[in-house]
């Protein structure tokens, strides 16, 4: 049976190589049939990899412990959904999963564009199959998930062996989100391959016009959405499972997932400079290239053991392959850019410091600074060992010092940028748009100060968040008011109509609002508290407004694990509120102990209780209680961001514009905000995409 899976993988590699070679031949000879067969081969890869994935999943579900991968990452008592998740819980399986998701993207990229962009698609197909060849080579020859267990008999001849029970899935991964977090994150990582392929293809083929930039932007948004979901689910998993009271520790693998997210965010903003003003073309192409390279780097960091991390797979020799692949990508990008650099000449230049353009430039500068700082901090142990001989790591203070001010500056730009006019904004326009939101923001900051909030960054964050939220809502209000007056509808219907007519702009505002909510949640960590104490039954621990009374300590057991459990009654103002049951589980298959945190979450604060174990000195159980304000806002903000992005990807509703073009141009609410040049109204979007 395992032959079936490995044969499918091998065929997939052959198909990818064929797609690559036939694609190049097709580009040179311009033979339509050759190009078509290369495309079909590219789509066939997806089917073949799917067969391999299904085979491995079948082995996992049927507890076939003759397969090394199954024996190491599963056991009989594991629930079926974790057996399913075991597919991507180890090196070999997760690489196969990478290849699989990539091949799905490739399939859709090729299929959806089969009748479009005839000059562009052959290049795209070749680049995509090039990337697939790399990963399929790893799947086939370096980290095969289908290697079988063997045992030597007396004469030293190897035979197939099957063991009775597997070593089980890492308990840290036995958590509902682990079923969904890796697929989301990987969909992000792999998804950035598609914009990369389109950008590189446009450059190599000198594809005329700006069409490719729209395609690239669209696919980047898809990948970006998955990456956002993946990162937030990962943060939530860390929070709920690792039991140290936080959700982000600047761990190298966390950082690795953040890096392409940052550059993709930068691209999604600066791409507008190219669409509207024909600027920053080189910059945009390189942002797409760098995003893809950071995805590969991130995949490598997770797997090579270059930097130590909670997530890192054990050290293996696979890093060398990734370094080689990265070097090839960089070389191809450099050559493609150098030979076609005249293709990327700017049409315009910066006119004024107070303009939409400069807000995008600052946005990109600051995002790239954040990306660089995170990359530098993550790879510092490697660099310091190369250059000074001693290995030095930097911790969270380094990352926080740099990134907190960056985040605040970004919040500021979020409020200011979208309302600035292209080219140049008048002082009058500034005053009209920003005076009262800023005044209310500062007023709320002063009020918070009077009520005792003294944390500098948290105060700044509060002021900026209020300011930005108000500017966003006033944008909706201004636009909706115009529509409501014209169509005689209520404001809510008008706001929906407004949003649907320019999904990109208003979806973008919703994403911005979601980010503000996330940042408020993060700022809440400035007020975290925690208490740790040895507790007897009947003891009380006071934290914030809560008092925790220990009712009982007991033990439970089931097929998968044994657990020590504390039963805690939570009181507030003398009244009983709820029961919490923090646990420590010892898993039977692996013998690993894990903490199960008890969290009581409310919009204002999370009460987070950990059973830390038995103190070795006194043999008393130790409880660690945390009070984390506003954490829920982060997850809620994430939902808003995802919804906003989904909205921004919808096509604009156009009927109103077609019917009344003249009127809507005059009373177009979307150019509100004191703009000198009518900018991103629905007209400019639906009639021409660059002015």
């Amino acid at each position: 049976m395992d032959i079936f899976g490995s044969f499918a993988l091998l065929l997939a590699l052959v198909a990818a190589v064929y797609a690559f070679v036939a694609g190049i031949a097709g580009i040179i000879t311009h033979r339509a049939l050759l190009i078509k067969s290369a495309r079909n081969a590219g789509m066939a890869v997806c089917v073949l990899v799917a067969v391999a994935v299904a085979t491995l999943e079948f082995f996992l579900q049927t507890d076939n412990f003759s397969l090394a991968y199954v024996a190491e990452h599963s056991n009989t008592a594991l629930p079926w959904y974790y057996k399913f998740a075991a597919l991507w819980s180890g090196q070999e399986g997760s690489l196969l999963w990478w290849t699989f998701l990539l091949s799905i993207y490739v399939f859709f990229a090729l299929f959806l564009n089969r009748k479009r962009h005839p000059e562009l698609m052959p290049y795209v197909g070749v680049i995509l199959s090039g990337v697939q060849i790399f990963f399929l080579t790893l799947n086939n020859f370096v980290a095969s998930p289908f290697s079988v267990l063997g045992a030597a008999d007396g004469s030293g001849v190897m035979h197939l062996a099957r063991i009775a029970e597997g070593s089980g899935l890492n308990p840290l991964l036995q958590y509902p989100e682990m079923v969904i977090h890796p697929p989301m994150l990987y969909s992000g990582y792999t998804g950035f391959t598609i914009p990369f392929a389109f950008a590189l293809a446009a450059l190599l083929g000198r594809y005329p016009g700006e069409k490719w930039i729209h395609i690239t932007r669209r696919w980047t948004m898809v990948a970006w959405t998955f990456q956002t979901i993946g990162i937030l689910l990962g943060a939530h998993w860390a929070y709920a499972v690792l039991g140290w009271g936080g959700y982000w520790s600047w761990d190298p693998v966390e950082n690795a997932s953040l890096l392409p997210w940052i550059t993709a965010t930068a691209f999604l903003h600066s791409v507008m400079m190219q669409e509207k003003r024909g600027m920053m073309k080189i910059w945009n192409v390189w942002l797409v290239f760098v995003t893809f390279m950071l995805c590969i780097l991130g995949t490598m960091l997770t797997r090579s053991g270059v930097v130590s991390s909670v997530h890192a797979f054990a050290e293996s020799s696979i890093g060398g392959w990734f370094v080689g692949f990265l070097a090839i990508i960089l070389a191809v990008c450099l050559v493609a850019w150098y030979r076609n650099r005249d293709y990327l000449r700017s049409d315009n230049q910066l006119d004024s410091l107070v303009s939409r353009e400069s807000s995008f430039l600052f946005n990109n500068l600051i995002l790239l600074a954040a990306c660089f700082a995170v990359l530098w901090g993550t790879l510092f142990p490697v660099f310091s060992e190369w250059f000074t001989g001693s290995k030095i790591s930097v911790g969270p203070p380094f990352f926080n010092k740099v990134n907190v001010p960056i985040a605040l500056f970004l919040i500021f730009l979020t409020g200011v940028g979208p309302l600035l006019a292209w080219r140049k904004t008048s002082l009058d326009g500034l005053r009209r748009n920003f005076a009262w939101p800023l005044a209310v923001g500062v007023a709320s900051g002063i009020a918070a100060y009077i009520f005792g909030f003294r944390n500098f960054y948290a105060l700044i964050c509060l002021i900026l968040s209020v300011f930005v939220t108000l500017t966003i809502f006033s944008e909706f209000y201004r636009g909706a008011r115009v529509i409501a007056a014209r169509d005689h509808t209520d404001l809510f219907t008008a706001a929906r109509e407004l949003t649907m007519r320019n999904t990109r702009r208003y979806g973008g505002y919703i994403v911005h609002f979601g980010m503000i909510v996330i940042f408020i949640g993060i700022a809440g960590s400035a007020f975290n508290k925690d208490v740790e104490r040895q507790m007897h039954v009947g003891d009380t621990l006071q934290i914030g407004p809560y008092s925790l009374l220990v009712q009982n300590f007991d033990e439970t057991t089931n097929a998968n694990y044994d657990a020590q459990r504390a039963t805690i009654e939570v009181f507030r103002d003398g009244k009983s509120q709820m029961m919490l049951f923090p646990e420590r589980r010892t898993y039977s298959a692996s013998g690993v102990t894990e903490t199960i945190v008890a969290v009581e979450s409310s919009p204002l604060r999370d009460l987070y209780v950990v059973y830390s174990g038995i103190s070795p000195d006194t043999n008393q159980p130790v409880l660690h209680a945390y009070l984390n304000p506003l954490v829920k806002w982060i997850w809620f903000g994430g939902v808003i961001v995802v919804l906003g992005t989904g909205l921004a990807m919808l096509p604009n509703r156009r009927n109103a514009i077609v019917l009344r073009p003249v009127e809507s141009r005059i009373s177009d609410p979307l150019t509100g905000g004191g703009t000198v040049v009518p900018a991103v109204g629905p007209i400019s979007r639906s009639t021409s995409t660059h002015e």
């Binding site: 090394a68 180890g90 063997g150 797979f313 004024s352 430039l361 001693s390 740099v402």
Partner: protein, 166 residues
Amino acid sequence: MPGYAEGRRSGEGVNARKKFVIGSFVIIATLVVLAYVGYTQSKTYYHTISEVETMHGSILQQRIRVSGNVEPGSIQHVDGHINFVLEEEGKTLPVSYTGTDPLPDTFKDNAQALVEGHLASNGRFQAEEVQAKCASKYQATPPGVTPSQSPSQTMANPASASGSGS
């Protein structure tokens, strides 16, 4: 930053460019200063036990991280803190753990341990943080049965005694 390449150049445009460059410089300079401060606050040196033995002078102020195996039978609970000995390639290092969190369950004889802290003047390592990884965790394969290709381990799982992060 690229973006404004060749083309017409009005006086205003040049001025805006100049302002943008100055603004960027101020931002970058601020971030570099912040990064340096953060770096000095949190830099941690990785050393091997044999390197630690030869350390003296100002290096003793550094925050360092040492890894090794816990010497069997060396774990002792002495009034409120835990003493043990780390061993690597025949060299040993006595360690005192002074943190408040209970040590992870994976911390036992022969476990791989990672300690972070300072070297005291008496040659004892004062650990503020101890991570341990049970060395035998994934050797569940029965004797005589070996994978035909050497498969790598699953995700490493260092249980941490003291939560890192903010």
